[in-house]
Point group: C2
Chain length 364, copies 2
């Protein structure tokens, strides 16, 4: 009898609820990062689904998002059954969403395996990504939780880290480590120490576990949330929608990292060399994009005189001329313009907060 | 008998034919610098006319411009008789225009005095300006040519200079000097020497002379042009328009400085401390405008985080956010955006030339 594929019971859960402000003015509430096409012709959510589509049929791909963008995501993903593109009635961070997804998958497959993916990350090496996922799925026996870990390229303070224990095994040349500890975003000093130790990977936010394993973990460490989610799952037929609308917002707003990963044991990491980036700022986007001879990322029909290291993005037709400027982010939309030092692009969020404080909701 | 006013026979000739590119993307062929309102609520041409209007009635103010902008100038200057807002059939620089104006003024007043002004300069001290003009008009007896000279504030290479001879007189506390020489735009080394000598003033491009004096000078030093202009002037009635259209473009394209001022004698300068600027670049405009605490010139409804020394100009409603940038010119219109190092704003013209080379006429 041929061995069953590791993906035989796998279901993708693509997390597309982000409402990030880091790519303002391009990103807006109705056009968050996952709906931007800064990296190739497709939006990030399309790329995310296209990647996992190489391993799973559309019928086993779920997308969890919010009301503001669900229609646009449906339009972008015609292959995915609309019932599998779920708008949550409230933003409750990742833990409640994943609990909801676990119930749905369990309803369909008692051995269902959840492949938790982000809709707004860049992964350059699709082949390597699928290989790592395959290993994670194969390793994710009952009770185990798998995380894809990224080898740090620097002492980054913006990510959570995973501390590795000893290597527990190896599948198709891919090592699997026991995880000693999930840690929050570190200080710069800590991040440097992590990097030097060689024992830490970045927490990519991509996980694999059986749906029943997740629910059991939630019952133990988040019993109140688990109870609410069980009631939502139990409400069938016409009551289902109402139960979701009433009970889901009562769940605590908490990430899966805080809710579970820092608490549970029996966690394994697969080091993933997959060209990953969470594209957390304009500066990161700049690094990822192809550049002209003067290291500019810019539309070919613009004009850059003595200009170096800039990223220029416009929506619509617009002639952008730069003269003697360097290392800027210039992002133009019909109603707003950002000009930001590239090394300061982490602070774009502050500007958006200020716009919010001023009540300029049209610009958000 | 009360003494006649020095302005009794004066006629203003406001030169508004400029099609400058230095304020691109705000300035366009159809909206050159004289039609920008970068300095106060009125455009520069309105300000120029309002200034001389304090000395002269509208019936003695002429505006010479081009076909592209004549209608807009008429709209901006409802007080000036439309017949006195003249669109030349071709851009021939200042000498032919002034010859044309001289004939027109002479037709009305055998003792007519021409007050030659620019439509696109800033003059902050209107009172001082009118005082200087009064002196120039009083001194401009037959045969004399007067120039308003500006005390140099630095070794600027972009202006022509006037070398002063001895003081010849003084009117209402205002010295008048004989002019030894008009010089072209100097090298930086020359400009420094001029500045050190204390003998040089900038040529402001503002002149006063009797119309008959100008025509006599043209006859002597530009006989061909003088002949063409005389034929245009002689063509009356229905032939006038046609003569202008056919003969004017045959005039040599030459400035009054090259055509006459560098050649003639009997020239006098009135040093003019009038808060003058020809606003030759975005950088100069920046210097002239009021600034916020961080030395930015910007719309009050924008947002500037850690940003210093920038000039931000937009047409229409647009939220401009800057983060961590300094000493930039940011100028946004619906179809174009300029981001330019302030110290490089002299090079905006190069960018416009490149757009022209690419055939992007819509943007010019």
């Amino acid at each position: 009898m041929p061995k069953e594929s590791p993906f035989a019971h796998a279901y993708a859960v693509v997390m597309a609820g982000g409402s990030g402000t880091r790519f303002w003015p391009l990103s807006r509430r109705k056009r968050p990062k996952q709906l931007l096409d800064l990296f190739g012709r497709q939006t990030l959510v399309e790329q995310a689904v296209a990647r996992i589509r190489k391993a799973l049929p559309p019928g086993r791909i779920y997308v969890y998002t919010n009301e503001l963008v669900r229609n646009e995501i449906c339009r972008r993903l015609p292959e995915i059954p609309p019932t599998q593109i779920v708008a949550e009635p409230a933003l409750r961070n990742t833990a409640p969403t994943l609990g909801l997804a676990a119930h749905e998958i369990l309803r369909r497959d008692a051995d269902g395996l959840m492949v938790v993916l982000a809709a707004d990350h860049v992964i350059k090496k699709t082949g390597a990504f699928l290989r790592v996922l395959r290993v994670a799925c194969q390793w994710a026996t009952p009770g185990r939780s798998m995380v894809l870990g990224i080898k740090p390229s620097g002492p980054v303070t913006g990510y959570g880290y995973v501390r590795l224990g000893p290597q527990e095994g190896r599948l198709v040349g891919q090592p699997v480590h026991r995880v000693k500890k999930f840690t929050e975003k570190p200080s710069l000093k800590m991040a440097r120490a992590y990097l030097a130790s060689g024992e830490y990977l970045w927490n990519s936010g991509m996980f694999v576990w059986r749906a029943d394993t997740l629910l059991r973990n939630l019952e133990r460490f988040q019993p109140r949330m688990a109870g609410l989610l069980a009631r939502i799952a139990a409400a069938g037929g016409i009551r289902a929608r109402r139960a979701l609308r009433e009970l889901f917002p009562q769940c605590e707003k908490i990430s899966i990292d805080y809710a579970l990963m820092e608490k549970i044991s029996n966690v394994y990491a697969v080091p993933a060399d997959i060209g990953w980036s969470d594209v957390g700022s304009w500066a990161v986007a700049y690094e990822l994009r192809p550049k002209d001879k003067e290291a500019n990322v810019r539309p070919s029909d613009g004009l850059a005189l003595d200009s170096r290291g800039n990223m220029i993005v416009t929506t619509g037709r617009k002639m952008v001329v730069t003269v003697g400027v360097h290392d800027l982010i210039i992002a133009d939309t019909g109603d707003a313009l950002l000009v930001c030092a590239r090394e300061r692009s982490e602070d774009v969020g502050k500007a958006v907060q200020e716009l919010e404080r001023r009540g300029l909701h049209k610009l958000l």
